[in-house]
């Protein structure tokens, strides 16, 4: 059974996560300065989440041109933010596919730290992680 029971639930959980990331005083600013637009194309449940170059989080379709697109499942998202799925392993097992200039993808990685730190609590608060 998928971690996220519905697209709405996924938007609720991951939406909160990304909003927290964008509000981070250091990483939020760095993200906006990078001028990168990311689109997560998620399956099981199906959905799209956008992080715009203005620091907005859009859950659902948007008429934007993504700098980087990531294709992955809802479960992979969940494990990735719990740090239970590393990027090399995700790539090895074809659980994440990335499209976009590699230097920009690499540039993103250090900006994700606040999201890793925040996700367990957010997941617990939404009842998808016990403990």
């Amino acid at each position: 059974m998928a971690v996220f029971e519905s697209t709405e639930k996924m938007y609720e959980v991951l939406g909160s996560l990304f909003k927290k990331l964008m509000a981070d005083p250091e990483m939020g600013v760095k993200y906006r300065e990078s001028k990168i637009i990311i689109c997560f194309n998620i399956t099981e449940p199906a959905g799209q989440i956008w992080l715009t170059d203005q620091g907005e989080v859009i859950c659902g379709k948007a008429d934007l041109k993504a700098t980087i697109e990531m294709d992955l499942s809802g479960d992979s998202c969940h494990l990735f933010w719990l740090k239970e799925l590393s990027l090399p392993i995700a790539l090895a097992k074809r659980k994440i596919k990335a499209r976009g200039p590699m230097p920009k993808v690499l540039k993103l990685l250090p900006m994700l730290k606040p999201a890793y730190e925040a996700y367990p609590e957010i997941a617990k608060a939404h009842g998808i992680l016990k403990g």
Binding site: S86, L87, P88, I89, L91, A92, K93, R94, I96, K97, A98, R99, G100, P101, M102, P103, K104, V105, L106, K107, L109, P110
Partner: protein, 406 residues
């Protein structure tokens, strides 16, 4: 710069980048590599102030960071720009283009899995380095293994009878590294850090590998003599020995769970880079031959006016343009897509190095007797290109690996 840019979408910044890199390549890399090529002993190359001045100039301009994001002090180039820069560097000197390109391997791969320690110890210092005092190398080739290490996705890769000669064993918070990398490690004897491809679980064959950064100031690291070889003589290559070297646990970037995928990414990146560099070598040989053919008089007229020479030159021109088209497409696709389509990088490497060899050979032929002398650079291009048909994977074997995914 004598080729017409067929990409009409290049920005002003990209055009400037191309011109600046070409100028550096023409004024610094080409003269230095020709001068260093004359030295009989490769040990003298790395003792030469000219070698180090050239490396330092490359570092000052950031050419050692073409694959590093600007977050870490790299040039932060997009994939098309990576191709443009590598072709221009290759035009001037395949030797220095490869040396500068591979220097970033430890920091580049660390930036894919950036933990705090790697950021502070490896990535940031490399990005900030401007005096060539931090030099990386790609430690994969071994005395008993060459291209057979580069076969991800094939049945041989999982054959337990075929395994690497450098091993890693976890002991507490450290990895213990033991074994030898062979004399074809680029930057081998001048490097300060290796990105070592090694064996963790022999029962899995080559698939049981890992990728680890080994700083060379750790006890137990020893280097051999620089390799004396036919081409690319300004590219230092040499053995590295690891005698129970204890490396912090965090420096193991990838273990056996994802080794095959990361090797695939490595091969896709390195082969795509070689395609771009040797497009530059092919172009250099073609331009030399074209220019010479317009000034050298034979049979009462310039060589260029002879129909056979014209025909040969146009053949060379077509090959160079085809090499650029393929190598650009491969690098742009594979540096924009993860996982990559490695067969396109292999096709680029094989096609462009073969092209460089054929075009350089034709250039020597057009020059005639003087072409085999040291008076003109075409004989060096020929030797450099020949070496590249084996370097980074022998072309014949790479083609079999590429064919496996067709």
């Amino acid at each position: 710069m004598s080729y017409t840019e067929l990409n009409m979408d290049l920005t002003r910044e990209q055009k400037t980048m191309k011109e600046e890199t070409h100028r550096f390549s023409k004024e610094v890399l080409r003269p230095a590599s020709l001068e260093l090529d004359k030295l009989h002993d490769p040990e003298d190359v790395i003792k030469s102030p000219l070698f180090w001045d050239t490396m330092k100039k490359g570092y000052e301009l950031g050419y050692h960071t073409v694959f590093i994001p600007d977050t870490w002090g790299g040039l932060g180039l997009d994939p098309l720009e990576v191709h443009i820069v590598l072709e221009e560097l290759g035009w001037g000197s395949a030797d220095f283009a490869i040396g500068l390109g591979v220097a970033c391997f430890p920091a580049f791969f660390a930036s894919m899995v950036p933990n705090e320690r790697l950021i502070e110890d490896i990535i940031k210092p490399f990005g900030r380095n401007t005096d060539a005092s931090i030099i990386g190398c790609w430690g994969i080739t071994e005395p008993e293994h060459g291209t057979d290490t580069l076969v991800p996705g094939t049945p041989e890769f999982s054959d337990p009878k075929i395994r690497g000669q450098v091993s890693a064993r976890l002991d507490g918070d450290e990895w213990v590294i033991e074994g030898q990398k062979s004399a074809w490690v680029s930057n081998g004897t001048i490097s300060t850090h290796s990105l070592v491809y090694l064996n963790i679980d022999p029962s899995m064959g080559m698939k049981g590998g890992g990728i680890c950064i080994v700083p060379h100031n750790l006890p137990g690291v020893r280097k051999g003599r620089p390799l004396d070889k036919m081409g690319q003589r300004a590219l230092n290559q040499g053995e590295i020995f690891f005698d129970k070297v204890r490396v912090p646990k965090d420096y193991m970037l990838v273990d056996q769970e994802s080794y095959e995928a990361m090797l695939d990414v490595t091969l896709a990146t390195a082969n795509a880079g070689m395609g771009a560099i040797f497009t530059g070598v092919a172009r250099a040989a073609y331009e030399e031959a074209l220019n010479y053919s317009k000034t050298r008089i034979q049979g009462g007229k310039p060589l260029f006016e002879h129909q056979l020479i014209k025909h040969k030159l146009f053949n060379m021109f077509m090959k160079v343009e085809a090499a650029r088209a393929l190598s650009r497409s491969a690098i742009v696709y594979n540096l924009n897509n993860t996982p990559p389509l490695t067969r396109y990088s292999i096709a680029s490497k094989v096609f462009c190095t073969n092209t460089a060899f054929e075009v350089a050979s034709d250039a020597v032929q057009i020059f005639g007797g003087i072409g085999v002398s040291k008076e003109y650079p075409v004989e060096k291009f020929f030797r450099d290109a020949r070496a590249a048909m084996i370097e980074d994977g022998a072309n014949d074997s790479l083609m079999i690996t590429g064919a496996h995914s067709l």
